[in-house]
């Protein structure tokens, strides 16, 4: 019984506030929104076009839309575990650049103490070409006790990449078919699919801008993104299509739910990213890509999808009247 009271109290409280100041503001906002929501579509449209240009540019530069890491191009990654003394990345880098051409070096450090935990050397070369040089620099043999070595042949890397691309394509098509099946009307379904598409394209472009080299795990993150993106879109569309009542009211309710969903995911992913980043490149990349994707998803759900859907409903309502 007690809680019942509290609930009433909260509602009351909100009402009072709305009466005092929000209502005129809200009405003003609503009026402006009703007039200009189609214009809002320009923002995602411009970003989408810029993203497509970015991807096209990378394609013309590197022969591919994204920068791939060695799990997709083939190559070797050596993770040297730090045992007693830290390894100077600069010295190792100088030493290696005298001997081999293309390589990159990073370090993993503990997220609390900042202590160096591991040094990662990545190269497109095979393990037997890079290993002797690293061993020469370190002065000891690399064994499973002090290091991890992962290598992928170039043809396998390439075929992984092709298959994962096909996997994303198939996933996307299956998703689209199901969305159309659920809503059975063209424009709302297309709006969901367009939002998901925009999410992926913008995320990929942003990943390129940040200079992240995408691994096979990163591609699974893109797949996850399809799921996360469609989640809030389906919720929104169901609320607006299958529910009676004023579009804007439904929209506001859906917005509250959807933004809670996305923000909750963002907070949880950020926490997980901060804790795991010093340990695993794989999880770090998955979380980063998802965070970027969810950021764009806020825009694509609440501007792209909403505007198209509202437009559709307005046209339909006018026709009915």
């Amino acid at each position: 019984m007690e809680e019942h009271h509290t609930e009433h109290y909260t509602e009351h409280h909100e009402h009072r506030e709305e009466h005092r100041e929000t209502i005129p503001l809200k009405q003003k906002f609503e009026k402006g929104y009703n007039k200009n929501y189609k214009l809002l579509l320009l923002i995602p449209a411009i970003i989408l076009i810029l993203s497509l240009i970015q991807l096209g540019y990378s394609y013309s530069q590197n022969g591919d839309f994204i920068e791939k890491d060695i799990t997709l191009t083939g190559g070797t990654s050596i993770t040297i575990l730090i045992q007693d003394s830290e390894i100077s990345i600069n010295q190792l880098s100088n030493f290696l650049s005298n001997n081999i051409g293309d390589f990159s070096i990073r370090e993993l450090s503990d997220f609390r103490s900042g202590q160096q935990k591991a040094v990662i050397v990545e190269t497109v070369l095979g393990p037997n070409e890079i290993r002797p040089f690293v061993e020469e620099y370190l002065g000891y043999e690399l064994t499973t006790e002090n290091s991890s070595i992962e290598s992928t042949g170039s043809s396998l890397g390439e075929s992984f990449y092709n298959q994962l691309r096909i996997a994303i394509l198939i996933s996307f098509i299956l998703m689209a078919i199901i969305v159309f099946f659920i809503f059975r009307t063209f424009v709302p379904s297309a709006a969901v699919v367009i939002s998901a598409f925009a999410d992926i394209i913008m995320t990929l472009a942003f990943v390129n801008v940040l200079g992240i080299k995408v691994s096979s795990a990163g591609i699974t993150a893109i797949l996850m993104l399809i799921g996360y993106s469609v989640d809030s879109d389906i919720m929104l569309t169901t609320r607006l299509l299958k529910r009676h009542g004023e579009t804007n009211k439904n929209l506001f309710g859906a917005f509250k739910t959807g933004i809670t969903m996305t923000l909750t995911s963002i907070v949880a992913l950020t926490v997980a990213l901060v804790i795991t980043q010093s340990f695993s490149e794989v999880l770090q990349q998955i979380f980063t890509i998802l965070l970027i994707g969810l950021g764009f998803d806020i825009m694509n759900t609440w501007i792209t999808n909403v505007s198209i859907l509202k437009w559709h409903l307005d046209v339909k309502n006018k026709g009915n009247n």
């Binding site: 991890s148 996997a167 998703m175």
Partner: protein
């Protein structure tokens, strides 16, 4: 107390089931046998992998430390080298063997009865006063000392050290006389499967580990080990070629002494076949050679092949004892050290005949008249390993015993010794397993250190709990109801638990992609819970109606995500399968078990 809805019961049932699957109901304190040699005295006594040792003699064993202390006190180090070697002269119907060993031989023996006196007559009546006339080897472990010295199944043992043997009793009496138990330590090992008594003067050939606290298995990328993805070079592997490849590879790794190996065929989205080899724990550096070398061994005189590796030509390869080992190490002229190894092999009759016919055509070496004019050249993968002189008395002889030799070099004597040993082991391995019919290519080779994994698992658990807690806080900020927030946290935890439980039940390894999958599933789970919370608070409809609508949305997103994940089961040679599987388990659990229960819980909380 209000009656609980069946949906909540279903959730409770799954949570309890998963708890049982993840945490075994086992309160025994002790150590578990992680591995045991099949030909050891301990194995013969009845100890097996997986048994839990609770007591040795009178010392209670609760953990690994206890086991180590008990073994060290029973077998003090100073006595380790005093195990006497006993010479055995075994005469069988086929061959005679002489070798030394410090423990009695372990093999399956059966008694043979004279033809007219079968142990059972035609009426099925047992003839009681039958005396066997001989004993025959019925089964023999390939890693045993007996096997390595040439004993084989179906050989009949005639005598041991000059004493004739016709019955099992004879055999046991002789063995017990040669290896008396009085000189040995009696070990009484108490396990969960009973008590076993072992007489031995060596530390039992078993490895033990603390009893695992959970049944969750972590993948190689967390627990450490090696993983190799292999195809043929320049050709597509057919299914049957792949199976041949797998059987040869498992034999090689087995001969090499690698345990905890998993080899299985995988097919990727493009229909290409691979062999996936996974080895847990630390891996030898020569793994690459072992799995990818074609291993074509040929012994040639001139350009005629006398014999090749594999059981067709080579019937036996000595791997221990006096017939195999490193016999000399010398400084080399060009600097460094070299060590020479040799080991004996037995040839099949056909190979021996070939040897005879080829050597018949040879003359005598003009410079060195003890030997024949041509040498026996040993090639491994078309590379000359060694050239052996052939003694002139071997001309035209159908010899079945051949000595294989070779050398290893290194900067120091130790390096040379190690290399010689490696070379010898590899040569023995290919001689036993034979060669692969095509060249191989390692497409992917990962060797992952187990060291990073331990801390890593803890970090993932902390990250997971922190993320779920963060979700709880977000839900509280939005709805201002502690109970709802708690319901979301508990539901998410239940989902994680059920995913882990199902993975443990189906023996699935949890690797990094699988963990990413759990995160994805929990993420979509929380999203759906928020949809339920919001839908159920819309006051214009009845509560039941509202929740029905919520479930409609959830089912829609479920089906889309499910289908989006399907291609991943095959893409990339299935290396990301773990992700797809855990996500599918997770979202299915969500839709069919946790979410219906969550809606009920929410309904109860809101009704109050």
């Amino acid at each position: 107390m209000a009656k609980l809805n069946w949906k909540i019961w279903l959730l409770i049932f799954f949570v309890l089931g998963s708890l049982l699957a993840v945490f075994p109901l086992n309160f025994t304190k002790g150590v578990q046998i992680a591995s045991i040699e099949d030909d050891s005295i301990s194995f013969e006594a009845g100890l097996r992998q997986g048994q839990i040792i609770t007591k040795i003699n009178d010392q209670t064993i609760e953990n690994f430390e206890d086991y180590k202390n008990a073994i060290n006190s029973i077998f003090p180090e100073e006595n380790q080298n005093e195990i006497p070697l006993i010479e055995l002269r075994i005469n069988t119907d086929q061959e005679n063997f002489i070798f030394e060993t410090d423990e009695k031989l372990i093999m399956g023996l059966i008694e043979i009865f004279p033809e007219e006196n079968k142990p059972e007559d035609e009426n099925g009546l047992k003839n009681e006063d039958l005396t066997p006339i001989a004993i025959k080897i019925n089964s023999l472990n390939q890693n045993s000392i007996s096997y390595e010295n040439g004993l084989r199944e179906n050989q009949t043992i005639i005598s041991i050290n000059g004493q004739e043997i016709t019955t099992l009793e004879d055999y046991n009496r002789i063995m017990n006389n040669l290896f008396p138990n009085e000189n040995k330590t009696k070990l009484t090992v108490t396990t969960n499967a009973g008590e076993f008594i072992i007489f031995t003067n060596k530390i039992p050939k078993i490895t033990v580990k603390d009893i695992p606290r959970t049944r969750i298995k972590t993948g190689l990328d967390l627990s450490g080990g090696a993983r190799a993805l292999i195809t043929a070079e320049d050709k597509e592997l057919s299914r049957s070629e792949l199976n041949d490849l797998i059987s040869i590879t498992s034999q090689r790794l087995n001969v090499y002494g690698l345990k905890d190996v998993q080899i299985r065929p995988v097919t990727d989205l493009a229909g290409k076949n691979f062999m996936l080899v996974e080895i847990a724990g630390s891996t030898p550096r020569e793994l690459e050679d072992l799995i990818a070398k074609q291993g074509k061994f040929e012994a040639k005189i001139g350009n005629q092949t006398v014999f090749e590796g594999g059981e067709k030509d080579v019937t036996y390869v000595a791997r221990t004892g006096e017939q195999s080992g490193i016999y000399s190490c010398n400084p080399l002229q060009e600097g460094g050290q070299g060590c020479n190894f040799r080991f004996a092999i037995s040839l099949s009759e056909a190979a021996a005949k070939k040897h005879a016919s080829i050597t018949c055509e040879l003359g005598v070496n003009p410079e060195n008249p003890q030997y024949l004019s041509e040498k026996l050249d040993l090639y491994l993968d078309e590379k000359l390993v060694d050239s052996l002189f052939i003694g002139k008395d071997l001309k035209c002889s159908e010899t079945t015993q051949i000595q294989i030799s070779g050398a290893g070099t290194g900067d120091t004597r130790e390096q040379a010794y190690d290399n010689a040993q490696k070379e010898m082991k590899q040569l023995q391995t290919v001689l036993i397993s034979g060669s692969l019919p095509f060249k191989l290519k390692i497409e992917k080779l990962d060797t992952i250190s187990p060291l990073l994994g331990k801390e890593f698992l803890n970090t993932i658990i902390i990250a997971g709990l922190a993320a779920i807690l963060a979700v709880g806080i977000m839900v509280f900020l939005r709805y201002r109801k502690f109970k709802l927030s708690l319901a979301v946290i508990l539901t998410s935890l239940a989902e994680v638990l059920i995913i882990l439980g199902i993975s443990a039940l189906f023996n699935r390894n949890l690797d990094l992609p699988a963990i990413a999958g759990i995160i994805a599933a929990i993420g979509t789970g929380v999203d759906s819970q928020i949809i339920i919370l919001d839908e159920s608070q819309m006051t214009s409809l009845s509560l039941r109606e509202r929740i029905k609508r919520a479930l409609y949305i959830i089912l829609g997103t479920y089906v889309t995500t499910l289908f989006a994940l399907l291609p991943l089961l095959w893409a990339g040679a299935g290396l990301l399968k773990g992700f797809a599987i855990t996500t599918i388990i997770g979202i299915s659990t969500g839709v069919f078990i946790t979410r219906p229960a969550f809606s009920e819980i929410v309904r109860k909380i809101l009704k109050e």
